[in-house]
Amino acid sequence: MEKNYSKDYFTLVKDEERLQDKPLKTKQLTYFQDAMLRFGKNRYNVIASIILGLFILLSIVVPMITPKDLYDKTNSALILLPPRVPLVEQLGILDGTKYYKNQTVDPTTIEDDSVDGSTELGYPSLGFDPEFIDFDTLENYEITGSTVSPYFVGGTNELFVMVNKTAYSIYDSEAFVYGEGDYLLIDIVEMDATGVLEVYFLDTNEYPDYINDTSWEYATLLDTITSSNVTDEPYRIDLDNTVFYDENSNWSYDSGIFFYRYVLDNPSEIGADSVELESIGLYDINDQERYYDWGYDLATYKLYSTDPDTENGVFIRQDAIMMAASFEYNVYDALFSDSLAIYGKTEYDEVIEQNPEMLDAIIDCQVEWAETDDEYQYVEQYCGENTLWIFVDEDGGQDFPITGVESIETKTILGRTYYNYKVYENGRYSLGFETIPYFVFGTDVFGKDLFTLIWLGLRTSLMLGFFASITNIFFGIIWGSISAYYGGQTDMLMERFTDIWGSFPQITMISIISVYVGPGFWALYIFLVYDGWIGVSRITRMQFYRFKGREYVLAARTLGAGDRRIIFKHILPNALGTIVTRVILSIPAVIFLEVNLSFLGFGIGNGQTLEIGPLSLTGTSIGVILNDGQQQILAGNTWMIIFPTLIVSILMITFNMFGNALRDALNPQLRGSE
């Protein structure tokens, strides 16, 4: 049933008012303002982003402001200087001292108490100046080792016969003088019962040319020691008149050597048959020692075999003890201190001419100075025992290339007299520094400043990460968008292609790139790019599937937009945020990879330059620095590992935090949320 309503039945509501959008009560924000707001919410992420920004800035600025000599050139004087940081050095850390371990003690220094009172501790003299050793940290201890060196004392020596051989011999390194009634004491610790020790004697007066193939013919077998003879007491062999009596020579002036030959019954099976000797001594009739060889002396006995095919072995020193020292050494002060040098007269005059103020600063050390004189304190402080004169300015500074003259040598050749000045050369001047420099991260094996090198390496890494990401985004977006936009058969084929391409083993790829391109920046770049775009294309594809069915795409198509326009003008801008954040999050992985590959030798080596268009940059890599540093670990130069590690780790942490923050900030779903 139809109802009929008259027109009066209806009245117009708000006929007078115009309908308009009501102003929003909240503040309006654009997408990026909102994103920035949410980005700033998380304090830690902001701090991380600031640190990251600082790192990037440093990696650009530091290589630019550092003098090129400090990181580009090998500087042999400055190698392996430890870190030294201003202000922090006051705390006693990073103060340019280096802790040395297991340094061989020079025994003569133990009694020497002239340097620093009576420490009764020894220190090495070779390569170290006691003036710069921190005696508070000096410690002495014993190291057990098997090195044949006079610094290692005591221990036993073991004579081994090799596998399939039957015997091996040792003999005294020097001939000795013997007399009537002498006896030999051989202290054997242990002897394997599979063999016996034969002692031979050779008269060296009769056979001066004693070491040749015929020695055994003239040597006389004195005695054979079996394992049952080995007791706690040394084995005694009395020198027999019948053996030693020599018609041609007088008893008391005769000389000879002993051979000790360890002979096995059967050829050795595993090469473990041995005789262990403690000492060998020769005594005269009054029990006076003629010689007594043990430890190092015994270890220097020479090895001998008549026939290398049947006789061979090794003579190994065991349980010898060395006195070692550990201490802190002020490497900087030692390097930049004054050192003695010889200057010719012309050379000396040249220095004076270039620094005229030096003439005013001369203080003569040879004159008697009264304690009341102004200069007296300097004389007392700087003048050595024999110093002729020194250069000290009014404030007591010695900022001159030469700080003093020790002596003058004169030489007269062909009527002309030459003067040689023995001077104290100022270490800072000779190395080209005005003050003692601060290498805050130390220097590397080439004497390059590690601080600059690390930022250089980081610059390379970041540049590589940046270029690789741009390329990956470019190709990934094109591939992914085409694949997803057309869908169906095209999508399937393109997907299968990326499947195969992406499952290529990386090692194969490294091989191929190395063979064709050779190691360097471009090899790394290709390696990062060849499958890096696949990740981007997958994300793009996913995003495209999300957006391509939307109404605005349909609307654009209805209005006659072409494929290219729809892809790049309509769909892509919507998907870009997600894609970019994902790529930024992948940069740390790129840096990891770069460090690893450079370490393995596929990246930018030391001193290689990087040519990018008109730019020519000195390149190195954190990986290369670490590789150099690895060789230095056991020498104690650990800063070459620790500082690059620290920087890379901080970079990784901040990069990850920054990426996460960016992802949260750009996520449209979180828009406006608190």
Binding site: P505, F592, V648, M652
Partner: protein, 381 residues
Amino acid sequence: MRNYIIQRVIWIFIILISSLTITFVLLKSAPEFPPAKTEEKDTWLTRQVQDGYYTVEYYSENPEGIDGVLGTEDDLGTMEEYAAVLNEATEKDAINETVFYISPIGDSTVYKIFTRKPIIQQYFTWLEQVVLHWNWGTSTKIRVNQPAFGLISEKMPLTLQINIFVLLFYIPFGFLFGIISALKKDSFLDNMIQIFIMFFMSLPALVFILLLIILFSYTMDNFLPSLFPLKGIETGWDYAKGFVIPVLAAGLPAIAGFTRMLRAELSEVLTSEFVLLAKTKGLSHQQAVVRHAIRNSLVPMIPIIIGSFAGLLSGSFILESVYAIPGVGRVTLQALNGGNYDYNVLMSSSAFYSVIGLFTVLIVDLSYGIIDPRIRMGAKK
């Protein structure tokens, strides 16, 4: 299910064969690097001729004077021909790249010129050699004239051994830390574990092993060796000590990664409805967690564990080269470093890594189906 497995296996084989084909073609199209010493070079090239990768021509100053050894006199060319062939090769820049000549060695008076066959012929020969005879060629650098695959397979046990140790080390700790941090979320313990994860995720394994060497070898005075000990020289105990640093270096970052994933997975499961249901039914919190939550969170972990094996293996590259472990990775790097590449060893190790990697993928795919019945495999869209 059966169809799915067959499909996956076929697909894996297609990928394997195509990747090995591309590798072979690209490597063998590059200039050859035969062994450096003349005798070894001669042996190697002769072997290549036998295997069918090269052809050889013989020349002599006195062709009539020699017979018997090399077949008939017709095989021998004159010195003019020899010079002509070499000239032609020089003009094409092929000398010492694809064409090699050997001057007479010892008593012989025969000059030889070896020429590499076109890549297509080489490829089919290679397929035949590998499939029928399991012949991967001989090494040119690492161990001259020894079978290349033998070199790799000899090193495999050590590489696999270390990786299995790492696996055995990281799984229990990963589970422990992951479960603790998920159950005690936002507690002090959880925060400590989070810091631990953060630390190891941002430290390259390379750097980590170097730090371990500093700690155990330098600071603690050679408590652990600074390089991998050689078997045979060291006694059993000293040899075993060599495993500590590599296993720690690879294991700790793996623990961090695993803990992070398990924590995320388990905390999601803990808030899910079926755990709530279990509690509603009257189970205690502990019962609900152990019987329902943890079990369910393990489902996606199993494929991750299997998959991590391939990841560890490729990571062991760095490990082996830093710690001087004589494994597959180190041999591969030796074959690759220093310019004169050892192609056959590279091919063999490529095959090794491809097979392990791809079959891990296969097992992961299959394990998804076995563990989680919700995944209907092989179903058409």
